[in-house]
Symmetry: C2
Subunit: 212 residues, 2 copies
DNA sequence: GCGTATGGTATACCGGGTCTACTTTTCAAC
DNA sequence: GTTGAAAAGTAGACCCGGTATACCATACGC
């Protein structure tokens, strides 16, 4: 067995990318709702049937990019440096993301990204699909937490995971809200770092100081 | 002006209920996917158009029951007894729900409820819609928290709300998992109370003891 | 080289959801 | 009362996302 990416699979990958690219381009130009799958298939020069072989639904043409990040929190925990705690690792990873203006932190203000985010927010079917992926992120994180820091009490990892994922999502949402209100990523950056610090402090030490 | 629920609105309400009832009955009998909207409309003796006037999508025929509970956490906080904290109120409300075997706590093991839950879990489109409603619950809770316990720091309420809603959802999921594994509500009840206690303790005092 | 699995096409079809145009009925104002 | 606008409802065509059938072509293992 030589190298495995045979000609066949490379061609398949190319068509997949062609479909994805055509879809993204058309969606950004005219909006999710306004573009039909027939149109996308035609632009990518494939049949509708082929399109659905690669992307099981129209929504997946958009969400695919996000789906790749579904296991990011879990990987962050399992790949953490020896001696650092899961919460440290997640906190640092988020701060890194902010510095890199990673789109998952909500702090990417490049016009294409803003347009993409705007498109997702405009279509409820896309939003709900996105939440489904975050649910998956929660499950993989729970498994990883349970593996690396097993607890005698059943369900501890799930409780932690749902809180962590919810916090990450809310932090990103807050940043996007600021950018949508006209701020630049540059302007928001210090506030975003501070908000992340507060959020992880709450995760560590609880809400008792605020709502008890 | 006498009583204002005029004849017209009462009739509208009746047809709405007729549609809802027919849908629930058919879905439970044959499964969400296997029943078409035409079938439901025929069973309720209305036209398809009328059906969609009351329920914007097929999913809404199922989710409607859940949607009514979307603002329950927010109401629990705003209606709490004087002198009790938001977290106390939410904790007690959840314990009440467990004692009453309220379906939102996941501890209702009556066969119709189990069948209903099973149906939702079997259809991804229903699950994602459900998550969308929990997102709404999060927002209304955040607003209420901000009103009753205003914080000087922007975003505190949203951070708290997302954690609280996530915890409530996870507690209910854990209970449903136990019932699905064959336990009765009776058997699960003590464990459910204990799990809720642990979860609210984590909400109050943080994850530092577990993952830091 | 050759059978086969795989990637692809054309086309018809199903089901959810919308649109148009029309009928009936409540309710309020004159 | 009568009348007229608003609302509830119907029928049927229509659009679009997604699937099933049947078939073609070609890379790949032997």
């Amino acid at each position: 067995m030589t190298d495995h990416p045979g000609l066949r699979q490379r061609q398949a990958q190319r068509t997949r990318e062609a479909i994805q690219d055509a879809a993204t381009r058309l969606f950004l130009a005219a909006g999710f709702h306004a573009v039909g799958v027939d149109e996308i298939a035609a632009a990518a020069e494939v049949s509708k049937r082929t399109l659905f072989k690669y992307f099981p639904s129209k929504e997946d043409l958009v969400i695919g990019a996000f789906a790749d990040h579904a296991d990011e929190p879990a990987r962050t925990v399992s790949d953490r440096a020896a001696g650092s705690s899961p919460l440290d690792a997640l906190h640092n990873h988020f701060l890194d993301g902010l510095a890199r203006r990673d789109p998952v932190t909500g702090l990417d203000d490049r016009p294409p990204t803003l347009a993409f985010v705007n498109m997702v927010l405009s279509a409820p079917s896309l939003q709900s699909r996105l939440l489904l992926y975050q649910n998956k992120a929660e499950q993989t994180l729970a498994e990883t937490l349970d593996k690396t820091c097993p607890s005698p009490v059943e369900g501890t990892a799930r409780l932690a995971a749902c809180q962590i994922v919810a916090i990450l999502r809310t932090l990103a949402e807050d940043n996007r809200r600021c950018l949508a209100a006209g701020a630049t990523a540059q302007e928001r950056y210090p506030g975003a770092v501070e908000a992340a610090g507060r959020a992880f402090a709450v995760l560590r030490h609880g809400l008792a100081d605020h709502y008890d």
